[in-house]
């Protein structure tokens, strides 16, 4: 299970400046419907579904995708850019 400590090491390795969050009790994953069950040699495990979401300033979901396509962030990024354009710069 990835802890904040594991994430901190990962953040350092890849040099990201935004927060890496841990959902160790699966509350967020469950409420978003992205907790996935896997069967490995008869044992059940729960992992996250790979997903990208864009949530606007009002808390409304503007983009959501799950599964293999979510490995590529480009669609979500273009949604962000459109959103940014519509909102304008204050």
């Amino acid at each position: 299970m990835d802890s904040p400590a594991a994430n901190a090491a990962f953040a350092k390795q890849i040099g990201v400046k935004f927060p890496l969050l841990s959902d160790m009790n699966h509350k967020m994953l469950t409420s978003y419907g992205i907790l996935k069950n896997y069967d490995v040699e008869g044992e059940g495990y729960q992992w996250a579904l790979r997903a990208n979401l864009v949530i606007d300033k009002n808390g409304i979901i503007r983009h959501i995708e799950g599964g293999d396509t979510a490995v590529d962030p480009n669609t979500a990024v273009s949604v962000c850019l459109d959103l940014h354009k519509k909102q304008g710069t204050p």
Binding site: D2, N7, E43, A48, G59, I64, E65, T89
Partner: protein, 77 residues
């Protein structure tokens, strides 16, 4: 003025290694996104890699949020 387009939040969404009920095998590969575009994103509070809590609703009225949910740290997917 340059400003942040979105706050990127990556979730280290860990495998729990928690045994699940026997009927879970039927649910293999059927996890579905229960949310859709236009829905209000459920609020959450999670621990960051700096051991600080991050609450989605803190960004309300301030920033757009980009959530990238991934399974394991130190992986490319």
């Amino acid at each position: 003025m340059k400003r942040l387009l979105a706050v990127g939040l990556l979730f280290a969404l860990a495998p729990a290694f928690t045994p699940v009920p026997a009927n879970s095998q039927k649910n293999d590969e059927v996890a579905k996104l229960s949310l859709k575009v236009g829905d209000t994103a459920p609020d959450f509070t999670l621990l960051s890699d700096k051991w600080k809590t991050v609450k989605l609703s803190e960004f309300r009225g301030k920033k757009n949020v980009f959530l990238a949910v991934y399974v394991l740290a130190f992986t490319g997917g």
